[in-house]
């Protein structure tokens, strides 16, 4: 299996500084700008800017990992395996954070006075299943010793895993009874969200995906360094 370590550093540097500035502005805007006064939600409506981007980021991570897995199978190059793993890892991290933030938000907003931290909302449960599907990817990887074989087997599984996410997170929940907007085929997000919230929400999505990209690139660089050291030790 080849290994062509290539990371676009100038582009990464731009992204790093850009994301730090961008996310600072998103945070400031998220707290300082007005929001419509909504019953029950009150200020928690601002969670829109932080909880929802977790899922957009997980989807983005799944696209990256799926694409890199395809590249593993096509080019037989270890760099794509490293990229697929790190993208999946971050996807799981953002997914977990999305689940936890959603659970806490719901508990103190719609389930006040009850001990309900998980209400088996379709989107919530299917998202958890999506995270588990990605978790199985890592279990699979740990079961194969040979790096080449591991890369190829894992890539095949990842293609399946990343293709399930759009259905689990978006298509199916919209058809079912749900606390989330857009349930039962109702108008989804765009029709019910006040314009001023979109001013922060869309940049927040972009910002979090940018943040994912920066951390992902850092982890890929670290993986490349590790692999280069490992290969050097092999060849003496």
């Amino acid at each position: 299996m080849h290994f062509t370590p290539n990371v676009n550093l100038p582009r990464y540097r731009v992204a790093l500084y850009g994301v730090v500035v961008w996310m600072t502005l998103v945070i400031l805007g998220g707290f300082l700008l007005d929001i419509p006064r909504i019953n029950i939600l009150e200020h928690t409506a601002r969670n829109l800017y932080f909880h929802v981007p977790m899922w957009f980021t997980m989807l983005a991570a799944s696209f990256v990992s799926g694409y890199q897995s395809y590249k593993v199978l096509k080019h037989n190059d270890l760099i794509h395996d490293i990229r697929a793993v790190e993208a999946s890892r971050l996807g799981v991290l953002f997914g977990l954070m999305g689940l936890i933030t959603g659970s806490v938000w719901a508990r103190y907003t719609w389930y006040v006075g009850t001990p309900i931290w998980w209400n088996f909302d379709p989107k919530q449960s299917l998202a958890a299943i999506g995270v588990l599907i990605y978790g199985a990817y890592f279990v699979l990887r740990s079961s194969v010793d040979d790096p080449e074989k591991r890369a190829r087997i894992a890539a095949v599984y990842n293609l399946f895993a990343s293709s399930t996410l759009p259905f689990l997170l978006y298509v199916v929940p919209r058809q079912l009874d749900s606390l989330h907007p857009g349930a039962e085929g109702n108008p989804a997000f765009s029709d019910i969200t006040h314009p001023i919230m979109r001013l922060v929400f869309y940049p927040a999505v972009i910002g979090f995906i940018g943040l994912f990209w920066v951390i992902y690139t850092q982890r890929v660089r670290a993986g490349v360094v590790e692999e280069r050291i490992a290969q050097r030790e092999e060849h003496g």
Binding site: L16, V20, M23, T24, I27, L28, F31, L32, H43, V214, I215, Q218, R221, A222, V225, R228, I229, R232
Partner: protein, 89 residues
């Protein structure tokens, strides 16, 4: 020494909700004592407004600053490692 001494609960105070608040022995003195006459001054004028939302903002900004610092530190560490690897080969 405690700045806010623990209150002696009287039977009628315990659990009473006159203004909707819950009174317990560990309540801040603000719950039962005199409300200060003059309004907040200086930075408090800003931070205490909007149901103390800006306190949350401050917390989030501090966390974010820490994360950004971590990102920059990792970046520098990686650059150092990559440089060391280049020099070796």
């Amino acid at each position: 020494m405690t700045i806010h001494p623990i209150l002696q609960e009287t039977p009628q105070e315990a659990g009473q909700t006159g203004d909707g608040a819950i009174h317990t022995a560990y309540d801040s003195t603000w719950a039962t004592a005199q409300i200060p006459e003059q309004g907040p001054l200086g930075s408090e004028q800003y931070m205490l407004a909007e149901d103390k939302l800006f306190v949350v903002l401050a917390v989030v900004l501090i966390i974010w600053a820490g994360l950004a610092l971590y990102l920059f530190r990792t970046d520098r560490k990686l650059a150092r490692l990559e440089r060391a690897l280049e020099e070796r080969s």
